[in-house]
Every structure is written in C-alpha cells, then in structure tokens.
C-alpha cells in the first residue's frame, strides 16, 4: 500500500451508544477489535463487519466501518456474498454460539469448508442471552436454563471440533477478559488467508455468569489456561513447570522435573501442520484433566474460494470467444430472415 495508513482505535468507534449490559464480555472484545483493526494498516473503508442476530450481533452498530446487522444465523452466507463479490474487502463476521451453530450451523460449516477469506469471531457464552436465558448448542449437559429447567440433556458442540470436521484451516481460542490476547489473535486471524474462526469464551453476566469461571478464577488461572504459540513448547502453570506430552495416541499433562520429564519432552505446538489430529486434541482439552488451550491452534494456508473463482473467470475469459452479451446472443445456432 503506497499510502500510509494512520488509524487509531477511536477511528473505528461509531457514534452509537453501546447497549450491552454492564460487565458483559462483549465490551472488551469490541475494544480489542477496534485496536486490532487500527493496527492492520488497512484503510477503514475496506472493512466490512457482518453479524447475525443475538447480543454480540449488535456489534456492527458500534463500528465506524461498512457493516450489516443481518438476520439470525445467516451472517456466514451474507459475509460469503460480500467477500466473493469483492475480494478486496476485509470481511469480519460476528456471531454467537446460537447464531453460528444452531440456526446458522449449515452456513457455518459450509463457509469453513469453502475456505472463503473472512474472519469469524464466535462469541461463546453457552446461553441464549438476547431471548433471556435458554440453552444453546454449546450449553453443557445438565445445565439448567429456562428451557432446560431440569438440566439440559443435549451434548454440546465444541466449536473447534466442528471447524476441524468441516476441514477448517484456522481455529483459535481467546477469552473476553484478555484484551491483549484477543487483539493479537484477531490481528493474526485477519491476516490469515482463508476462513479463520476465533472462538471467544465470553461471559454473560446476566444469564450464564461465570460460565468460564473455571478458567478465569484468579487463584487457578495459570494452571487452567494454556496459552499456546506456534513453535513453542506447551508449558503452563503457576510455576511454569507443567506441560503437555503425547502419550501414545492421546495427550497427557506432565510436570517438568517429575518422573524424569524435562522441557525437551514437552510437545512443541505446530499450528501449521496440515494434519489436524493434534489440533483437534489440543482444541478439545478440557477440565478437569487438562488446561484449556488459548491462542492459535490451527493455521494452515491454502488457496481460498474467491481466489480460485477469480482465477477460473480469468482463464475462461481468455479462452472464450464470447466477450460481450452481443457475442453471446449471436453464438450457436442462429439464422437470418
């Protein structure tokens, strides 16, 4: 880009009053998005933010970019249309666990499968907030909500598993109270070529407070979160002495210094590995046996849908003798009277 882009987070704030509940995790994520966008060096008019329906989907109104607050579940399809129509645009999609994986489940798996270069921020609070507290596809089995008064009997979706199952190329996880990590991941997701899905563990203070409390508990946070980075060993813990190793076909937590384990034994994270098996295991690490992985779990670049489409159009245009509507009208079997 020839022109120097000087933008600050403030440039991305709209003049609308932010109407999320006090204490909602969305506020922090909004700030992280403003910050990340200002750091990307992309002109503001190139950003398009598309959302579905739900609390987090109010996001576009708080963005001073091109944006659309669309209909429930369809943000993935609308984003796909925007990006395919104009690949020059930087498209962000804002969605929640219900919007993305219940009503929008079909569009979600297909956008991931097609690998259209959009950034999906998936706010996972394991509850329907805007409709005031019903269970969602990520609510836990046994979770008591207004529509599961005796406990949910449904096993939850794990977004990472769904993304990898749909041949996803980029999956990351962050948490709303870590703005720094959010910003970093959002920026990398935006720079990644292909569909990137960022699951944001987000707290709903009203209907599902402390859904991620196990992770955010100040006393145990370091032992329960593993912030992974490509090329670095998966070490965590208050004393920085715990790690993940591969034990046969499973992962296992170990303590460095115990049973002859040294730092060298710890699994080094390779986000670029085409084979998703390890990524799936890392994404699925959960309490109480494992810390929860945060950071970029998978990032494997390959051609995107829109690149291939544009390439195909260029090739056919070059080969075909039909250059205009007039040519088409007069092609094939015609006769004169």
């Amino acid at each position: 880009m020839s022109e120097q882009i000087n933008l600050s987070p403030k440039d991305f704030k709209s003049d609308q009053e932010v109407r999320w509940c006090a204490g909602c995790g969305d506020h922090a994520v909004l700030n992280a998005v403003h910050k990340s966008m200002s750091e990307l060096g992309i002109p503001k008019e190139k950003f398009v933010v598309i959302s579905g329906i739900g609390c987090s989907s109010r996001f576009p109104y708080y963005m001073n970019t091109y944006a659309m607050h669309s209909i429930h579940g369809r943000a993935a399809a609308i984003s796909s249309g925007v990006k395919v129509a104009n690949p020059e645009l930087n498209v962000w999609m804002i969605t929640g666990d219900g919007d993305c994986m219940a009503i929008g489940g079909n569009h979600f798996i297909h956008v991931v499968r097609r690998n259209i270069n959009i950034n999906i921020l998936l706010f996972n609070n394991q509850i329907y907030g805007l409709t005031k507290g019903q269970y969602s596809p990520t609510s836990l089995e046994g979770q008591v909500t207004k529509t599961s008064p005796f406990g949910s009997i449904e096993p939850p979706f794990h977004p990472g598993e769904l993304v990898i199952g749909a041949q996803g190329k980029f999956f990351a996880r962050s948490i709303d109270n870590n703005v720094k990590l959010c910003t970093k991941i959002f920026t990398e997701a935006a720079q990644f070529k292909g569909t990137s899905v960022v699951e944001i563990l987000q707290n709903c203070v009203i209907y599902n407070d402390k859904a991620h409390g196990y992770l955010t508990d100040k006393a145990h946070k370091e032992d329960r979160q593993l912030i992974i980075e490509h090329g670095k060993p998966m070490i965590y813990g208050k004393e920085n002495n715990k790690g993940i190793v591969l034990d046969g076909l499973s992962l296992k937590t170990v303590t460095i210094g115990e049973n002859g384990i040294t730092e060298k034994d710890i699994l080094v994270h390779n986000a670029y590995n085409k084979n998703p098996i390890l990524h799936l295991m890392i994404a699925n690490m959960s309490q109480p046996d494992f810390p929860v992985a945060l950071g970029i779990i998978r990032a494997v670049e390959t051609d995107t849908y829109e690149e291939k489409l544009v390439q195909q159009i260029e090739q056919i245009k070059e080969k075909s003798t039909i250059k205009s509507m007039k040519d088409l009208l007069h092609s094939g079997n015609i006769w004169h009277v």
């Binding site: 669309s70 209909i71 796909s80 088409l328 009277v337």
Partner: protein, 616 residues
C-alpha cells in the same frame, strides 16, 4: 421425394408430439425437428413434458417423456392443445398420450416394442392399439428397432448404442412426412459426436433409413407441407424461458456496468438458470451454488451490499425458504432480483409441472409491511425482457424485485428475434460517489424515495445497514414509534412510485364493451390464441395481459371499468382475480381457473369465454 402434387397437402399449422421412454432421446428428437422447422422459416412453440424421476421404470407410463412442437405458417403462440402426429416409441407412450391426439391424426409406432411384456409394463391387459379403439387414426406400424439394427449391421457397434439411435429413425420418418431436409440435423450430429465418428455415422445412417423407409412405404398419404411464416426480418435463434431469463440478467448487468452475481440452490424447474449463469464466466458472472436456498439469497444480499447486480433464482418451496431474507432486502433497501419459476404446489407438489399459484406469496408472503415489486414474464423469449426489467427496476429503485416465470415458460422454447443490445435502455443506479459530502444512508434522493447505494470500499461513506428499523435519513437504529410509521410509508411509497417507470396496460381488440379477457404471466400464448380465434369468428371482446403486477400499470382501473364483464383466467384458484378485487373494489370479476399442472387448452378457454359472452 415425391413429385406427385396431389399427394402433398398444404397445412396452416401442425402439432407433433414425440414420445417414448425417458431414455429414448425424445427431447433431443423434438428439439432437432424444431430447429429444422425454425430454420425453414416456420413460426413455432415447443414444450417438453417429462417425468420428475430421472429414470422411472422403463416402459411404464410414469416413465414416458414427451416433446411437443407446434409449427406453422402464421403466428404460433402455444405448443398446441392436441397433436396431429404422435410418435410413440413404446406402448406406454401411446397410452400416456392418447388423450392428447386429434381424431384422424397420424400415429407412428415402433411395432417392435408392442409386445406382451411391454403391454404389461404400460398397464394394459392387451395391445393398447386395440384396447383403446384406435380406428379413426392413420396408424403407421414401423419396425423401427428391427430396421435400425438392420441398417447398422455393417458397423462395429454394441447393441445398446445401436438401439440408442432408433430415435433418429423416427425423426427421419417425420422429416419425410413434412418434406424437411436432413442437413441441419446431420450437421448437428457431426458436431455433437465429433469425438466418436462411429456414432456420427450410425446416427446419420439411421436418420436416412427412417426417411427412405417412410418414402418407400408411402404409408403417409398424403404427406404435408407447411409453408414458412411471414416473420419480421432479423436474426433469430431458439430460446427457452430459463436461458432467456439468465441472458436478460447478464444483459442488464452489462447495461448497468455492474458485475452479475448469482447465489442459488438447484431446484426444478429453475436450475437451468443457475447452470447457464455458471457457464458464463466468460462474461464475468460470479455464480455461487449455495448450501441451501437461504444461503442462496443471503449471498446475493451480501453481493448487493458490495455493489453488484445480485440475483437469486428458485421455485416455490425455495421462495418460501427465502422469505425472511427478502424482508432483510426490503428493510435494507438493496437492489435484488428474485426469480421464482413457479411449479405446482403446495410443498413438493408437482415439481416438473406448471402453475401460477405463487402470486400471493410473491405479493404478500412476508411478515411485517414488506412491499416489493412483482413482475411476470409471459412467453419463453420475453423472459429476457422481463429479467432485464426486473434488474432495471431493482437497480433504479433500490428494491428487491420478484420476477415470476413458470415451468411452462422455463422449458418451452420458441424462435426469438435477437435484440439489439444498443437499443436496450441504459440502467442508472444510485451509486454514491466518493467525496460526497454528508452522506446519509436513508436520505431520500427524490420523489421516488430512492436512497443512495454506498458501496463498501468507497472512502468516507462507511455506514451500517441492518434488519432493525432505521431512523429516517441517518439510518441509526430507532425504536421511535412515529419513525416506524414514517419509514413504513416511505418503503410503501417507493414501490408505488415504480408505476412511473412502467408502461400502461394495452388492450387488444375491443377497447370497451361487453367483455375483457384478463390474464397475467405465462398464460399469454393460450389466452391470446383463444382471443384471436374468437375474434376471427366474429366475437367481440378485448384482451389485456399483465406483466407488471405490483405496482399495477397506472391506467389499469380506467381500462377495466370500460367493460361490462371482466374474466380473469389463471392457473390457480383465482389469485390475480382476488388481487384485482382488492385493488378495485367497485369492479366485479369472473374467473376461470385450472389447476392440473398443465397449461390451458385453447378449446377450454374458448368455451369459457363464449359461455361468459352468452350470459345475460
């Protein structure tokens, strides 16, 4: 060829129905005959009639595939009610079509297929030729299978490939019957199978064998000649409604200087539009085969937001699925073309059959006050014009437009005088230029209530759209009660204003008086033919056919009120009649409805019209 003039009969017009098993190649046979006739200067209309199943059980009535062509030396507007010539490749084809042939017509059958086993498959106890009492017909029992096999003896071909060319034998016979040259079909065969020379040879041999067989047996007394029609000078091609629709959209994109984007999901009978547009990468069309109907329209809405001419195509059940998203296009006031190729409903209904029963859904089938423009094509070839119009109105009026065609138009084909691209109107959009001061997304630009189309990527015009009600002018989310009323009126007025950019309704025949025959959409050819024949016979009536449904042409009331009786004919239970009643409560409408998945017949229409004319 015979020179005996007495044996040649001049005919005004002829209807031929080719029918056989769905694997017998009857669609191709019919299309080849039509092409040859068109090239000789006949006017014509064709219609295929095939089963919903790809390969229904062989030899059964359910598996019969038919193709009807109506050609003549004067104007032809329908595929014809009843056939003068029936080609039946097996007993099932005969059984399936017996009610569609005229008394005294010629029936060509492949006698080799008239076996006990096939009678059983066709559901007959014995030979349907006897069972159905075919005494008043000129039945030609040709050993088509045997002679096809015989004529290909010298070629090294497997039995399956040999039998696959028997349709050419039948075609050859029909060519002789109507004095048609073989060369167009021969050229077609050479082109189509150019990679397999032996198939080219086989098809050409069998075609000729059929021709000479017909000549030799001279069973066809007399043979017929249909002179060329008086046709307006120009360059012509055959086109069906789906291709014409696809092309109209491309033409509109070119005239608007925009890229064309189609987001669609395959559904009968609309799929061909998506297929054709997928082919047109040479013209830069971006086609997106979505995961479902909803994603089809939603990707199109995304593309429209991003500044392209966006289209989604579907049929009844798909339109139902798209409903919520259409509402989003209404409130975001984005240009969008929704093509609905109507078929028999409700639910899966009659997927391959035609009907006009989605009109009310197109007009009113959304929650909230959700107005949009509805227009309808009325012939296979004018799908081009109305697809172009749908795009023009969508772009010039910043609104979704539903274009209604139907299964009959979609699959029917006719010769079409190729339009001059220069003569098509230019399409002007409301695209907002970079540097525009104080841009407001919902500021009305003029009396037509248009808003500016600010396209992502344009510096300084960043704005938010969405499904929540918007504040007038600024587009900020607004729950202000009075504002909702203002915006609801603005959206309604915007659609009503489209009336200024559409033509008045014109009436054929009597400009006032006893009876006005009224139709809309795909029934034009049948209604027009009925009107023309009655007028020729000395009856007095007017005929008005609607393409613009919402809004209706400005002069509609003024025209309708000049008649004592108003008869609305449509392929549903009276949806357009009810819509007219809603609009013009001072007028009384009679209606004639048919809901069998089939077009009207001229005979039934004339009967109904005469009945109304005679009523006091």
């Amino acid at each position: 060829m015979t020179d005996n003039k007495e044996q040649i009969k001049e005919l005004e017009e002829v209807v031929i129905r080719f029918s056989g098993d769905s694997g017998d190649g009857m669609q191709l046979t019919g299309a080849l005959f039509s092409d040859t006739s068109a090239l000789l200067g006949n006017d014509l209309t064709t219609f295929p009639d095939y089963p919903a199943e790809i390969r229904a059980p062989q030899g059964t009535v359910g598996g019969v595939s038919g193709f009807q062509v109506h050609f003549g030396q004067s104007e032809i507007n329908t595929p014809g009610d009843y056939a003068d010539v029936l080609v039946a490749m097996n007993p099932a084809a005969l059984v399936a079509n017996v009610k569609w042939i005229k008394r005294g017509s010629t029936i060509i059958i492949d006698i080799d297929s008239f076996t006990e086993k096939n009678f059983e498959k066709a559901g007959c106890v014995k030979d349907p030729l006897k069972q159905l009492g075919f005494r008043d017909f000129n039945i030609i029992k040709a050993p088509i299978s045997t002679l096809t096999r015989e004529s290909l003896k010298g070629l090294n071909l497997d039995p399956k490939s040999i039998l696959r060319s028997k349709n050419m034998f039948a075609l050859g016979m029909v060519y002789w019957l109507f004095h048609r040259p073989l060369e167009f079909t021969q050229k077609f065969i050479e082109n189509k199978f150019k990679k397999i020379p032996v198939i080219v040879e086989a098809n050409k041999i069998v075609l000729k064998a059929g021709y000479y067989y017909a000549e030799t047996i001279e069973a066809l007394h007399p043979s017929y000649r249909v002179a060329p029609a008086q046709i307006k000078k120009g360059t012509y091609r055959n086109i069906n409604g789906n291709i014409a629709t696809a092309w109209g959209l491309i033409a509109a994109a070119e005239k608007a200087n925009l890229n064309l984007f189609i987001g669609s999901y395959p559904i009968t009978p609309a799929t061909e539009i998506l297929q054709e547009l997928s082919k047109r990468k040479d013209l830069g069309v971006k086609s997106f085969q979505a995961e479902d109907e909803i994603a089809g329209i939603c990707t199109a809405i995304g593309a429209s937001f991003a500044g392209q001419l966006a289209v989604t195509t579907t049929s009844g059940p798909g339109l139902s699925l798209k409903t919520e998203a259409i509402g989003l296009a209404v409130i975001t006031e984005l240009p969008l073309v929704i093509v609905n190729v109507q078929r028999g409903g409700p639910s899966t209904g009659l997927p391959t059959k035609t009907e006009q029963s989605d009109l009310m859904q197109a007009l009113f089938g959304r929650h909230g006050e959700s107005p949009l423009v509805v227009i309808a094509a009325s012939s296979p070839s004018n799908c081009f014009k109305y697809a172009f119009e749908a795009a023009r109105i969508a772009l010039e009026h910043m609104t979704p437009v539903i274009l209604l065609t139907d299964g009959f138009l979609a699959n029917g084909s006719e010769p079409w005088r190729i339009p001059d691209m220069e003569a098509l109107p230019k399409i002007t959009t409301t695209i907002v230029k970079e540097g525009t001061e104080d841009f407001q997304p919902y500021r009305r630009l003029n009396e037509d209530m248009l808003r500016g189309w600010a396209i992502p990527g344009t510096k300084g015009l960043e704005h938010r759209l969405g499904g929540l009600e918007k504040m007038a002018v600024t587009g900020a989310v607004s729950y202000v009660p009075e504002n909702h009323q203002v915006m609801t009126y603005e959206r309604e007025k915007k659609i009503n204003q489209v009336v200024n950019s559409i033509p008045d309704i014109t009436v054929l025949g009597e400009q006032e008086g006893e009876l006005l025959l009224i139709g809309w959409g795909g029934t034009y050819g049948h209604l027009y033919t009925a009107y023309r024949e009655l007028t020729k016979a000395g009856h007095k009536l007017g005929f008005a056919h609607f393409n613009y449904i919402k809004p209706l042409p400005a002069n509609t009331h003024e025209v309708l009120k000049k008649y004592k009786k108003l008869l609305v004919c449509e392929l549903n239970l009276g949806q357009f009649a009810n819509y007219l009643r809603l609009n013009f409560q001072d007028l009384e409408f009679s209606q004639y409805n048919k809901i069998q998945g089939l077009p009207f017949t001229i005979i039934e229409l004339k009967e109904q019209i005469l009945k109304i004319l005679e009523e006091k």
